[in-house]
Subunit: 363 residues, 2 copies
DNA sequence: CTGTTAGCGCTTTCAC
DNA sequence: GTGAAAGCGCTAACAG
């Protein structure tokens, strides 16, 4: 404290806008105008008020502002399901945080995470931050469950938001997503063209929309080829290597199965290899694999016949950009960005390593 | 919406506690009691109110609650300096987030980051989240600047907080830190005992307290050995490999210098090796190195004579644990946890790789 | 067990 | 260019 030092007169510690007003010999409204950089205040008054604010270290009460001004405080990130259920890779998380920093943090926004925890076995719902008027904008990370209801509440609230996936139950949903149906479709078509008739599929995200999209793309490709879908060839897997190798083994026990699509989202080469080995199969010889990857031109399995690249980060970046524009009043919602996956048969970037799960280290 | 469906009568969308009260045929206070799980409401009334709340999807306005109840909304994490100045490693960030999740997120707390951005060249101050009454507790990540003032405001606010370093200007500061002075002291003593008299030091965090602590520990060791400090032997470095190799080269150009302490906090073996090579030195022959590491039993430089382990994550974990206790009223502040660094001359975990900076990938 | 009143700190509306 | 008054949605204190 340099120069004249003021005394907060009331017994409480906190300086209010009224205290500043009193010191400056104006009303609270004038101080409010200065704080919000609005017109209608002479430069002299403005300077005087700012000097007092600086000197006493006054900061407006964000809750009062939020309550009265109807402006929420933070940019929120929520997980569509608790992390125990839906793994988030460390890589994606780091990427997301960095991107939010560039887009929002640098402009002085608070970036607030709601980790959507379980309370005694039941989730409190990931829309909480929006419904409680804490979030001025919301990024929903992770796949949406088939029976998701929170998204409707967020959608209706009018708060700008972006989901990382589409959902049929809310077609006008604001989203930025890769077209997983297309991914499954091109994976299946590729194998059909190479003469395969019984194509197995290892599918992630059971109970979530991405799983349904995969099934649909697969089914559509088969239908166009005049082949009936055999449900036994589609297996849902979780994110355990053990689970993947078991499923691969089981699927390939049927010797008529000559091709496999891995769209488990695990990028787990060791599970695939172990499963094929146990089934006595040799990739490129009696089994052909299409593996999904999240790296451009990076292979999951170098023995694979092809890879399908899901540009998840790329589409998320685009979505967050548009979310920022919406949040700052430069456009209206909803957002709809859908990127197409890309099939490639040669890879320049070698084999990618299996992503580390966030919280994997603590479990 | 199942069963009876209510209509929000006012023109605005939002349901308030009064609307719930009206529907339930009670007053707002009773609803408030139910919301806050307080006594004084019959089970029957409680059930009826909860049913209405559930049905209309009511959520309390967090700002109103915060304003009236004097309870802030989030657990805050602030950076003591903008990330352009102070690098945060991806590893530490992931660790921090995971730990905050375990400690706070799982209990339903919002975890909110203030990235302390520059606005037109000047920082808005990292105490913002506390002073604006958004944070109910605050973790200050990163070293504190010598002229830091924000910490005083946080300290005086009464909000539970923990800084990741000590500072002399505020001895009663709440902190969880490694004793960097001790680290420099034991590093220097080790080399003195091995007969070295001219010991160079590569020092990080110029302008921040950890730098001062390093100098003091170094000076104390020399003083006890009756050797005068030659300031030319102490060099501040930033986090660029190039900068490190240059400094090592320059320091070792003086052939009387026979030992080097790397406490740059970079864990950068390539900078060290390159510098020594350019100076025509061979570690273990005409130069002995003590390197600082943040991994237990992990070496930065396998040619080093010794390593000093700074248990930064370990002390942060302890600090966050105590911060949670303080936040939840189970103890009082301030917190003071200081862990001692450990010198070791053999390493089981091999050589650690240089940490990746958060935002390194986007620069 | 439940209701009434007041007010947290700010911004909006309207008046001067 | 500035001020007065009302009220955002909630909860603490007190009354019944």
């Amino acid at each position: 404290m340099t120069g004249t030092s003021f005394k907060k007169p009331s017994t409480r510690q906190r300086w209010t806008i009224y205290d500043i007003a009193r010191e400056a010999g104006v009303t609270a409204k004038t101080v409010s105008r200065v704080l919000n950089a609005k017109g209608g205040v002479s430069q002299e008054t403005r300077d005087r008020i700012q000097e007092i604010i600086r000197r006493v270290g006054y900061h407006p009460h964000i809750a009062a502002r939020s309550l009265r001004g109807n402006r929420n405080a933070c940019i929120g990130i929520t997980l569509s399901a608790p992390m125990d259920i839906i793994p988030v890779s460390q890589h994606f998380f780091i990427w997301l945080f960095e991107h939010l920093y560039r887009t929002f943090g640098i402009r002085g926004e608070y970036v607030c995470f709601d980790v959507n925890p379980y309370f005694g076995g039941s989730s409190s719902g990931y829309s909480r931050g929006v419904l409680e008027h804490l979030f001025k904008a919301c990024v929903i990370a992770g796949p949406l469950a088939l029976d998701d209801k929170d998204i409707f509440q967020i959608h209706e609230s009018g708060v700008p938001y972006i989901a990382m996936g589409r959902l049929e139950t809310l077609p006008e949903c604001s989203c930025a997503t890769v077209d997983y149906e297309e991914g499954a479709y091109i994976s299946t078509c590729f194998l059909l063209e190479r003469g395969h008739r019984r194509i197995a599929m290892l599918k992630g995200f059971e109970g979530f929309f991405p799983s349904v999209e995969r099934s649909r793309g697969y089914g559509r490709a088969l239908q166009e080829a005049g082949i009936e879908v055999d449900e036994a060839l589609i297996r849902s897997v979780d994110f355990e290597t053990r689970n993947i190798s078991n499923m691969v083994h089981r699927l390939l026990a049927d010797s008529r199965v000559t091709a496999l699509i891995d769209c488990s989202a695990t990028e787990d080469s060791s599970g695939l290899r172990e499963g094929m080995r146990r089934a006595g199969r040799v990739p490129g010889k009696d089994i052909e694999v299409v593996a999904w990857t999240y790296s451009e031109n990076g292979a999951v399995l170098s023995e694979a016949a092809a890879h399908v690249w899901l540009p998840v980060r790329e589409v998320a970046a685009e979505g967050i950009e548009q979310l920022a524009a919406w949040t700052h009043g430069k456009r209206k919602g909803p957002i709809r960005v859908v990127y197409r996956p890309v099939l490639f048969t040669t890879w320049a970037n070698g084999e990618v390593s299996r992503p580390k799960r966030l919280f994997g280290s603590l479990e």
